[in-house]
Symmetry: C2
Subunit: 679 residues, 2 copies
């Protein structure tokens, strides 16, 4: 007896419950795309790269069955109408990879497109059938149909070639069909039927200085030649040759706006200011104006623009400090009281971290009913200074302002001015620091000042220079700031100043220092606090730039070496090397290297972290990976000494007086006359 | 001279470029939610859990500034109108965690909601101000306003209590204000202003048998008592006591549909079948019907339903094999030729993996113009057997059918029948296997058969039992299948059959075997292939279930131990233990444990992987973690031997005759009369 399904009843039942297929879209897209990288939070935030970088894209690709796949990564600047394409090729375990070069700054986007490669599948099967001696007559007709389909989508010579191949296949002449460039023509012209498109992933492409920069911070009011006079922008212009001699390319100025009088801080952060105390530049605003005004004692807006222009002739960009807070005397307090938090007694809520009070500062209230007006005005402050020619901003304590605001503000500004660089001054928890980098900050201050041992430095740099962090966060290493003087400096040891600057300048491609305090080795803290005593934040200083103990020559050397060596212009090739002493890892000697993308420039840095004793050890050189022969040269770019090394482990010895080697490693070459030389 | 910004001009310029804030939505949502887990591909696919499981949810939470945060995870079955909430609490480094129990099967969803806790922030600051002896009169007014706001959103007794606290704060009486349960009332009633909501993340909650199951596969046609007769569903009903005695709870049948005649395979997969060869059950369909019909020689649809019902009385569920392919005689071939690929010569494309041809099988063409009709029909096959009472399906080679189809088909079926279980028979590349698990397959066959050494087993189990794999993939370990007989069995060593079954039954909570071939230790392969000779796929077998060498007693023991020990009902507590020999890790002895969630049930398994020699060693017991005293009991559940152990390392010795210990580890207890016992 035959048992059949009660078909009609079931069909009705099924129809009653069968879910709609509309949501599926084209159900014949058989290729699946997964695990696309690089991507930050699945593509929610852009990956950061520098113009000229080659972006390597990877993803998992697979389909049901055993058909051959083909895929491309397509990419374009956001807003462009047409895509560019680069092919993907399989690695192992269904992972695919492709590359393309990022040729312009601004926001870019990429997308994976993948499909069943019908022609490659057919060729692959045909080869196996031919090898097995099978009858392939029907298979050749199938191939002819594919080639004919491509021919109809091609034109001109391509179409003609394809039609010839089609005819050959119909005639059973495989050799003729495959004689031409049929594979590449088919790849171009056979329609990509049922292609799968991935999500679109964003990339922010920054200009070179976003990654490779050397910052010098100074207080303009301390730049006057004559004692007792308040320095001006014109004085800063006179200081430019000095900054250029030191080799810096970003000159960063603390806030340049009128300074409040109410609760003005005196010397050493005292609560009462004397009549001649200049106040902290971060207590912004008085009757002379606010964030879009210039402190009268510094000069005029025209003077400032002159400084920006003069700096440019030295290859130096002026960076401004943007601190979104107001002194009680700021015009906003009167004009826009709704942007501040009112207390029940009618006063405005000043900044505080109970029990500490900062009555000279009113924070903005990002929960204001007029938050939209506030956001627009704060954005207008950036826009104003952009109009004055500024393209680099250091943002003060961004982690105490609404994160959603930064996301909107920075990205909308960069959409108009993709050359903007924002440095985030957020010394806060790691997740918040990284989030600020995700939402638009270009560079970030780091924990470098608090990473001093070999283990700490190694661990932290590995975190910073590998994904996911390296895809979103560009570190800027500062050995000091006006706010931060860490304990390793308190003894005033020259060795510490040398090594901390050298490491900052070579571990990452961007570094900065607060001068002239640093090159003059200022090192006395407020007792119990990691901060300078007699801080320049609250007083006008006079610096003797020509003091014999100044490190200006060493700093200039560091920046020259940085400029001349492309290996030091990036972070992704950083690796640490073993230093042996008595067959153990050396505790005090730190060795690391960077190489240029073409492998030609190799910089090997060895640092003695012991400020008091000479240290000796054997540094391990990856001779095979660097393609070094039995002999090679280690040229110390600081002393110009040239050592001929051989083998893997080579002896180094560093004293507290000269605690750093910056070696350029050179291979042994032979010229056409047979002479050997290092290059 | 005062320098002011050219305000009006700038304002116009800014207005011209200021981007729209509409896309921002509520800009005052200050809390950021990131890195939510568990989530598969950022929440695109559901996490898998079993009903009764506690789901632990974690995420990063932070805001600008230093305010206190509060957060909940809210959750509900998909389609429910109201959410349930569980609080999140901070761990370290801005990571937060919460838990809730999954109380019903089906698709659930959860979402993080986080906001600034205004009251906690205020309390925190007030405490610091009071400790510093500051004037807090204004602060108390601020607090009173918060409490008053909550009071207005509360009602009844809560509102009254809050109003009392409000009045106390206005009066400056902090003690009275804080005397009641103000903190919990404020947490309930103070509006969650500007709360941030995360994406919604899906969870699929399966019934218990999705994770904990023991499968037995048999060919119904081989179950007749009399030699030469084709077995029927009625014979299978008679076999149920045997299956129940062995302790299995899923009885899985190869396809039960009419078998094709065209190109029918003969014994040992020969290309020509003899007149009495029954054919492969996977060559589905002939004039008697297709996927919704029953092979007449097995009986009727009523007989099948009787089998399903009879099995249920033994606590056994019948699982059907769904193989989406057709013999050339299948009614679909005539009725729906558009579902198959036509070749230029008018024939239908049969299955092949060139140069191999499988002319007895037509695959469906998932690129058919009528793909929607095909999808609906294939889904209707499942719906038909669901109507017959089947809730468990083993799906044949799902990786050779459109992945998008499975996503739609399985999830739409489970939306109606959340108790469905689909076992994926995909022995393919890892990414494809895991993708099938993501898109709706409940359980999956694994690489277990090819993981035989201690290192391979340890590595593979660690991959399977930790996220992300454990969140999406439920393994089902089979030591054999009708298609797979791996080389370790070829010598027919009893030890190998014992250890491979014992490991399958205890390493993961679901296992299965193809019997009676396994318990009768069938082990002769087709030369050069990992497949049984005289394969039951192509012929009717007669099995002597009472053969003295049968492992039925051992298998029954394994399944009894599994049922009685909750530690073996899950995979997440699996850990491997060191086994020492001469102070080195033992090469042949493998030790691992599982514990129940309450920690009461501890199972420690030790396996001798050497089929030829007795092996001895010292197994390391985590005495402190398991809360064991100086003495504890290792009760071998296979032999009933009870060993009193002490300390961390204990001696084990396993011969090829008895190559497995399954210990229940019992703690030393003392009853009220002072007698000591193990429990």
């Amino acid at each position: 007896m035959t048992v059949k399904a009660p078909r009609s009843r079931s069909r009705r039942a099924a129809a009653a419950v069968a879910p709609d297929l509309a949501a599926v879209g084209e159900g014949r897209r058989r290729v699946i795309i997964e695990a696309v990288e690089p991507a930050i939070d699945g593509g929610r935030y852009p990956v950061k790269r520098i113009v000229g970088d080659v972006l390597t894209v990877r993803c998992d690709l697979f389909a049901d069955g055993h058909d051959e796949l083909a895929a491309v990564v397509r990419h374009r600047p956001v807003g462009a109408k047409t895509w560019h394409e680069a092919p993907l090729r399989p690695l192992v375990n269904d992972r695919w990879e492709g590359q393309f070069t990022l040729n312009s700054i601004g926001r870019h986007e990429f997308q994976i497109v993948a499909w069943i490669d019908r022609f490659a599948t057919w060729v692959h099967q045909l080869e196996k059938r031919l090898a097995a001696g099978q009858d392939v007559r029907v298979d050749l007709q199938i191939g002819a149909a594919l080639v004919g389909e491509a021919a109809r989508h091609a034109s001109g010579a391509d179409s003609a070639v394809l039609h010839v191949a089609e005819a050959a296949l119909i005639a059973g002449d495989v050799d003729t069909a495959f004689a031409g460039e049929i594979h590449s023509l088919m790849a171009v012209h056979l329609p990509r039927r049922f292609a799968t498109e991935s999500e679109v992933y964003p990339v922010t492409v920054e200009r070179e200085r976003a990654r490779f920069s050397a910052w010098y911070e100074l207080f303009p009011r301390s730049t006057a030649d004559e004692p007792g006079r308040h320095g001006t922008f014109r004085d800063v212009i006179k200081r430019l040759p000095y900054v250029a001699e030191l080799g810096f390319d970003v000159l960063y100025l603390p806030p340049i706006h009128p300074i409040g009088y109410t609760f003005r801080k005196g010397r050493n952060n005292s609560l009462t200011a004397g009549p001649n105390d200049p106040g902290s530049p971060w207590a912004i605003g008085n009757a002379d104006g606010g964030h879009m005004s210039v402190h009268p004692e510094l000069g005029t807006l025209e003077d400032f623009r002159a400084l920006v222009a003069a700096a440019r002739t030295y290859g130096i960009e002026v960076a401004l400090d943007i601190a979104f807070q107001c002194s009680p005397d700021h015009p906003y307090v009167r004009e826009h009281p709704q942007w501040f938090r009112a207390r029940p007694d009618g006063t405005i809520q000043y900044a505080e971290n109970p029990p500490k009070k900062y009555q000279d500062i009113y924070p903005f209230d990002f929960e204001s009913d007029d938050w939209q007006g506030l956001w627009q005005e704060l954005r207008r402050i950036f826009a104003f200074w952009i109009e004055q020619g500024v393209r680099i901003f250091r943002v003060d304590n961004p982690h105490t302002k609404s994160l959603r605001f930064w996301d909107w503000c920075l990205n909308s500004l960069k959409a108009e001015h993709p050359d903007l660089i924002f440095l985030s001054e957020a010394f806060t928890r790691p997740k918040v620091m990284y989030h600020l980098a995700k939402i638009g900050f270009t560079q970030s201050y780091t924990y470098y000042t608090w990473r001093t041992t070999k283990h700490e430095i190694t661990q932290y740099l590995q975190e910073l220079t590998t994904p996911p962090v390296s895809d979103l966060f560009i570190p800027n290493f500062w050995p000091n700031t006006p706010d931060i003087l860490t304990p390793q400096f308190y003894a005033g040891q020259r060795s510490v100043f040398l090594t901390r600057a050298a490491m900052a300048a070579t571990l990452t491609a961007s570094w900065g220092m607060y001068g002239p305090a640093y090159e003059l080795m200022e090192h006395v803290p407020v007792p119990g606090r990691e901060e300078y005593i007699d801080n320049e934040k609250y007083e006008i200083k006079r610096w003797n730039l020509d003091a014999p103990h100044s490190l200006r020559g060493f700093i200039a050397q560091l920046n020259r070496i940085r400029r001349e060596h492309p290996a030091l212009h990036r972070n992704d090739t950083l690796r640490f090397h073993r230093v042996d002493i008595d067959f153990h890892e050396h505790e005090w000697l730190l060795a690391y290297s960077k190489t240029s993308p073409d492998g030609k420039d190799i910089i090997l840095v060895v640092v003695n972290l012991d400020p008091e004793r000479t240290q000796r050890g054997w540094v391990q050189v990856p001779v095979a990976e660097w393609g070094l022969n039995s002999m090679y040269q280690a040229h110390d770019l600081l002393t110009d000494a040239r050592y001929t090394w051989s083998g893997e482990f080579n002896y180094v010895e560093l004293s507290p007086q000269a605690p750093v080697h910056i070696f350029c490693i050179r291979r042994l070459r032979r010229d056409e006359r047979g002479f050997e030389y290092f290059a």
